[in-house]
Amino acid sequence: MKTFTKKRIDIMVEAPLLNRLIDLLERQEVGGYTVVPAIAGKGTSGTWHRDGQVGRVGAVVQIFCIVDESRVDAILKPIFEMVAKQIGIVTVSDVEVIRPENF
């Protein structure tokens, strides 16, 4: 099957920031995004576990977004600026899709 190469941006970010990140993605007019749960983790800011929180602070959520290669840089820049000073990391990888028009 013919497929088209796109980029998948994966963002892990502390939960209180999620709504702002989604607002940012909407302003960048990405074709879509998906929020995915995480249970626990460790990074430079220490260890966390979902079942050990009151409130949302400390928990990390994931959000990914499939975009056209041509738009990666424009989208990545403000994301990185937002996440850099918070708890979180950003990765980018290659994926192929079947219908290219939606991204």
Binding site: L17, T47, H49, R50, D51, G52, V54, V57, K85, Q86
Partner: protein
């Protein structure tokens, strides 16, 4: 004195406190015991709904006396004043940076609703009456502290040296909206209003759900709080120096004293004074931390969360409650 001691012992041997201790012990022994996140959120929703509704129904029954407005005002002033005291105490006694001191200060001006619940349960057990609208005072005290703490960071610095742009600190109306409309506050205040509208009839119709099992549910919730406090201590204790820990003990006493005096000055009942004391003494660990991550991301959550949840919360629960009751009885 003996009465106070008896109060203290009764408190320490209540199922409520013992379940909290069980959670704490299980966490420190590194048991894998967890209360699933969804259950904890469901229990918290239940507790907000129950306490709000009962408060509203009680207001409907006893009417609004003149002190309601005064209590709200006192609560807001305490919430705004305590952060200033806390901030200066931290700056004097600890080497914390401005943002960290301000972030901690915000927690102590705001309130812990679970501490409030534990106090209502304790005084109900002692047969001490209290004003139903204290629930509304609790809701009113959540936010002012946040505004004052952000002002402590940004004042006089022209938004620059504190590093607003570079470091991400920000004070936005959106943030205030998020805090004011956060789920817990909405359920608490909403249920309070519903309780006021439906009154005692409404309360009777759902009492088997929100009144009878309340204390047991609180025990289960405190088990979880113990687990979380214990795990927070394991992970975060190394971020707390002795002066910071000391602050976590004396600050509730300072705040509590202000609450006690305010409550007495405006003529609240013994129970009302005890609750005002508790609100002033308690520190937030839900609404304020979330707001701080957005407004002051460079402040370290490992400090403010561990201090509020791991030091002040257990202190208020175990030592604070009998103490505040005893003083309220004296001053009333």
């Amino acid at each position: 004195m003996e009465a106070t001691l008896n109060l203290a012992i009764a408190n320490l041997t209540s199922p409520m406190i013992l379940f909290f201790a069980l959670g704490l012990a299980a966490a420190l022994a590194r048991s894998d015991l967890v209360v699933p996140e969804a259950i904890a959120k469901g229990l918290s929703l239940y507790l907000m709904m129950a306490i709000g509704f009962k408060g509203g129904a009680s207001v409907a029954q006893h009417g609004v006396d003149a002190t309601l407005l005064l209590s709200l005002l006192a609560g807001i002033l305490l919430s705004a004043l305590i952060p200033v005291l806390a901030f200066n105490a931290l700056r004097l006694t600890t080497g914390l940076k401005t943002v960290d001191a301000a972030a901690i200060a915000a927690h102590y001006g705001s309130i812990s609703i679970v501490t409030f619940l534990a106090m209502t349960t304790a005084i109900e057990g002692l047969g001490i009456a209290y004003e139903g609208y204290m629930v509304a005072v609790a809701a009113a005290m959540e936010t002012p502290a946040i505004i004052v703490a952000l002002w402590l960071v940004f004042r006089g610095k022209g938004e620059k040296s504190a590093g607003a742009e570079q470091t991400g600190s920000q004070f936005s109306p959106g943030l205030m909206r998020e805090v004011l409309l956060n789920g817990s506050v909405v359920v608490l205040v909403g249920a309070f209003i519903i309780g006021m509208i439906t009154g005692d009839d409404g309360l009777q119709s759902i009492a088997p759900f929100i009144v009878a099992p309340f204390k047991g549910v609180l025990c289960l919730f405190l088990l979880d709080m113990g687990l979380i406090a214990g795990r927070g201590l394991i992970g975060g204790a190394r971020n707390l120096t002795a002066p910071i820990i000391a602050f976590g003990i004396y600050m509730p006493l300072i705040g509590g004293t202000l609450g006690l005096l305010a409550g007495a000055a405006i003529g609240l009942s013994t129970g009302g004074i005890a609750l005002m004391t508790t609100l002033a003494a308690s520190a937030s660990y839900i609404a304020v931390p979330a707001a701080m991550r957005l407004a002051l991301p460079e402040a370290q959550p490992a400090i403010y969360l561990t201090l509020s949840l791991g030091v002040t919360f257990p202190f208020n629960l175990t030592v604070g409650i009998p103490l505040y009751v005893a003083f309220s009885q004296m001053i009333a």
